[in-house]
């Protein structure tokens, strides 16, 4: 495992944006100046490269890492003793120190103020790491520059595993590799550990050997427990192990709650608790006071657990549909929003009015392809957008075909106009266009209009077709 830690910051996988911020921050130190925030907090899920980053930085720039683990060595004296080094330069001047405080989300509130003070006086870089930045004491959060490490994708994990296998000159069946990546849920450290297990222990019974690391599994378990208890304290405790933001957890509870409660008054009471939870989340979001999250969690767990009489027996837990719906309908929504934008701009409407207009457009597109085609050209809709309004298939194709016709006519007319302008220009600068030429040009334009707009050839199919054309320039 240690063997394949990244040696340079550049080798840390898929955290480019965060790495830029880290690089800028460490450059300040290297230049001999002190950055605005003397401490850096790297926040992110397990196994995304936080610790690796610290050691890669140290190796690259010749720092000695003083690693403190907030959860191991909690006594204030210890922290004090170590952190003293933060502002004492090595007398020999060879290795500057880099203080690394892991699990900063586990610092006892009592020590937080002291650490915050130490940060103020630090003359060497301090890096903190945490899975849950909102549980890092506020005093400390105020003193640090925060960067976020995102959860790695399955692809990232597979790529990293393949690289290790190459270096080790080992092979593992592809399915197994994918399985490891899948179970790791973005935790590269877990994946590398599993890979090691599989490589050393043989691949035959690998599936059983692998620890089940699926994050969502624990949500399923936690929710099943939550919906089985009437005990407020227990309800709070069961979600502790769930690695999820409170607003995600809220969606999970929301999804399953109406299957667990069946009496309307109980459902209403449970939702009352969720509503309160959401209000705490909203206030936390707006004010940056993430301490409020604990009340939100209280409401969505304990508040829901005590809401009423639950269904007896086995409860099946479903993942939130809303997230799925949102992902599924993303393409649709993008199309809809782009049509709405065009309607707002071209028809001078507010958003809500434009949304309403979409429904009228649907009716028009369904029943009158000719009229629809004019809307398409007027709004400059794309073929995909036409399909959104008319449905995929024959109808959309017919409308689209008609718009091409309109475009052709428009182009023809514009070219004619251009030619006349050009012809007029060719007669020489300053010279007047002769009456005769002008009249001829006008006649030609008129001929084009009358021939092509359908004014003179009304109602092949429908009587109203002739009325569809607006000769707005009746100057």
């Amino acid at each position: 495992m240690e063997k394949y830690r990244p040696r340079k910051l550049a080798d840390v996988i898929n955290q480019e944006k965060a790495k830029d911020a880290i690089r800028a921050w460490i450059e300040e130190w290297l230049k001999g100046s002190i950055p605005k925030k003397r401490a850096l907090l790297i926040a992110g899920p397990p196994g995304t490269g936080k610790t690796s980053t610290v050691y890669a930085l140290a190796r690259e720039h010749h720092f000695e890492v003083i690693e403190l683990n907030a959860s191991d060595e909690r006594t204030y004296e210890k922290i004090e003793r170590y952190v003293q080094a933060a502002y004492t330069m090595d007398i020999l001047g060879q290795h500057r120190k880099l203080i690394f405080l892991d699990e900063a989300d586990n610092i006892e509130p009592g020590g937080a103020r002291e650490i915050a003070k130490l940060i103020d006086r630090a003359r060497n870089p301090i890096i903190l790491a945490a899975n849950r930045y909102w549980e890092v004491p506020r005093e400390i959060r105020a003193k640090v520059q925060m960067v976020n490490y995102k959860r790695l994708t399955q692809r990232d994990v597979i790529k990293a595993l393949v690289r290790i296998l190459h270096a080790e000159k080992k092979t593992v069946p592809k399915e197994l590799l994918y399985e490891i990546a899948k179970r790791a849920s973005g935790d590269l450290r877990a994946a590398v550990n599993d890979l090691q297990t599989v490589v050393t222990g043989g691949t035959e019974d690998a599936m059983e050997v692998l620890a089940y690391r699926d994050v969502e599994k624990s949500v399923f378990q936690a929710l099943a427990q939550l919906f089985a208890t009437d005990n407020a304290r227990k309800a709070k405790l069961v979600v502790l192990g769930v690695d999820m933001f409170p607003h995600e957890l809220l969606q999970w509870i929301d999804e399953n709650l109406p299957y667990v409660y069946y009496r309307p008054e109980d459902i209403a009471r449970a939702y009352e608790a969720l509503s309160r939870a959401d209000i705490f989340l909203g206030r936390a979001q707006r004010t940056g006071n993430y301490g409020l999250w604990k009340y939100a969690t209280d409401m969505m767990t304990a508040g829901v657990a005590v809401a009423g009489v639950k269904k007896k027996g086995f409860v099946r837990i479903y993942p939130p549909k809303t997230i799925k719906l949102l992902t599924e309908s993303k393409g649709e929504r993008t199309l809809r929003d782009s049509i709405v934008k065009k309607v707002m701009a071209e028809m001078h409407m507010a958003r809500l009015e434009a949304l309403e207009t979409l429904n009228y457009l649907r009716a028009i597109f369904e029943h009158d392809p000719e009229m629809a085609a004019h809307f398409v050209v007027y709004l400059d809709l794309t073929e995909k957008e036409v399909e959104f309004l008319a449905g995929k298939g024959e109808l959309a194709r017919r409308i689209w075909g008609k718009t091409l016709n309109i475009h052709k006519k428009l182009k023809g007319e514009r070219n004619q106009l251009k030619e006349h302008v050009a012809a007029a220009g060719a007669t020489g600068k300053g010279e007047e266009v002769t009456e005769e030429e002008l009249k001829k040009a006008e006649d030609e334009i008129e001929a084009v209009e009358e021939g092509k707009t359908g004014k003179e050839e009304p109602s092949k199919k429908k009587g109203k077709q002739a009325t569809l054309f607006d000769f707005l320039g009746k100057k």
């Binding site: 929301d254 209403a268 959401d278 719906l325 001078h348 009015e353 009228y360 009716a363 004019h374 428009l410």
Partner: protein
């Protein structure tokens, strides 16, 4: 679409655009406002304006017509339309204003006009920023702010604007215009059809014309049946269904409907609340229940503003409906 295309005669415009009055005098039902706007046009000077009133009564039309009469044929480059709810964040608006104000008005005008629709969609802070922007460019730009409720516009902006309250249109005004359009388009407008249009339009001229055009797509004879058919797609039937399901105690079905409305149809949580509030008084329930439900809707509107996830708050509201339906 490119500007020149619109001026070419082969293309049919949407009727709301085709029949948008070009001159102030042609605006329906707002005589008190038109009189003063014409005065601005005549003198060639005006203060910032605030247009308040319900949708579809002529606010945008008045702004466009005023610009035409002020600037004549040069009106287009002197007129910028922005939408507060569209341009997320005041910064986008500010940039666009800056860009627009950088160049001189065309055609000898002494100022340009910026029309900001849905100004009441801006937050208080954004409105403060807007106020500064208005001041910064007041040399060569006049703002026309449009909103549904002037009370949602902060005091300092109100005090810098001449305020015009657009009245809801009465049925006679709408009927006259609809009859005129139906005539021009060669439609047969039945009396029932006209009454149906007036019913669904609720004094909103834009909706009336849109419904007319959609119904015309079905048949050249405008019947009440077709009007209700096209209008029901747009009318918040779904919202009413959702409320009914909840009142009948079927929370899960109601929740499904809600998700469809929010995620598929793309209404915002606040849109849904507005529709619920409108519909609640049409529900077949005892009168005191209507009032109680309106009160609940108000409460959850408040919570929606306070909270983080609209879906949760609306679901909680539906859960309230399930107990009040009994």
């Amino acid at each position: 679409m490119p500007e020149e295309v619109k001026e070419v005669k082969i293309l049919e415009k949407p009727w709301v655009e085709k029949y948008r009055p070009e001159r102030l005098d042609d605006i329906v039902g707002q005589a008190h406002i038109v009189k003063r706007l014409k005065h601005y046009a005549k003198t060639g000077s005006m203060p910032h304006l605030l247009f308040a009133g319900p949708p579809g009564v002529g606010k945008t039309t008045a702004a466009l017509a005023l610009s035409r009469e002020l600037f004549g044929e040069h009106w287009r480059p002197n007129f910028l339309e922005l939408n507060a709810s569209d341009e997320r964040g005041i910064n986008v608006i500010r940039e666009k204003v800056k860009e627009f104000a950088r160049t001189k008005p065309i055609g000898g005008a002494s100022f340009k006009i910026i029309f900001l629709d849905e100004a009441d969609a801006l937050t208080q802070d954004a409105q403060q920023a807007l106020r500064r922007t208005m001041e910064m460019f007041s040399n060569n730009v006049r703002f026309i702010l449009s909103c549904n409720y002037s009370s949602k516009i902060i005091e300092p902006i109100q005090s810098r604007c001449a305020i015009f309250r657009f009245r809801p249109l009465n049925d006679e005004d709408v009927a006259e215009r609809i009859e005129y359009i139906a005539g021009s388009e060669g439609l047969t407008l039945t009396e029932d059809g006209l009454q149906a249009i007036l019913y669904v339009a609720e004094g909103d001229m834009r909706r009336a014309i849109n419904v007319l055009q959609a119904a015309a797509a079905l048949d050249t004879t405008i019947t009440d049946e077709n009007v209700f058919l096209v209008a029901s797609r747009a009318r918040p039937e779904d919202v009413r269904d959702m409320m009914k399901l909840a009142l009948e105690g079927d929370f899960l079905k109601a929740r499904e409907k809600l998700r469809e409305i929010l995620l598929k149809q793309g209404l915002s949580g606040e849109d849904v609340l507005i529709q619920m509030h409108k519909e609640v008084f049409n529900l077949p329930i005892p009168e005191d229940r209507k009032v109680a439900l309106a009160d609940r809707i108000g409460e959850y509107n408040f919570r929606l503003v306070e909270g983080a996830n609209e879906m949760i708050q609306l679901e909680a509201l539906l859960a309230q409906f399930t107990i009040m339906g009994k």
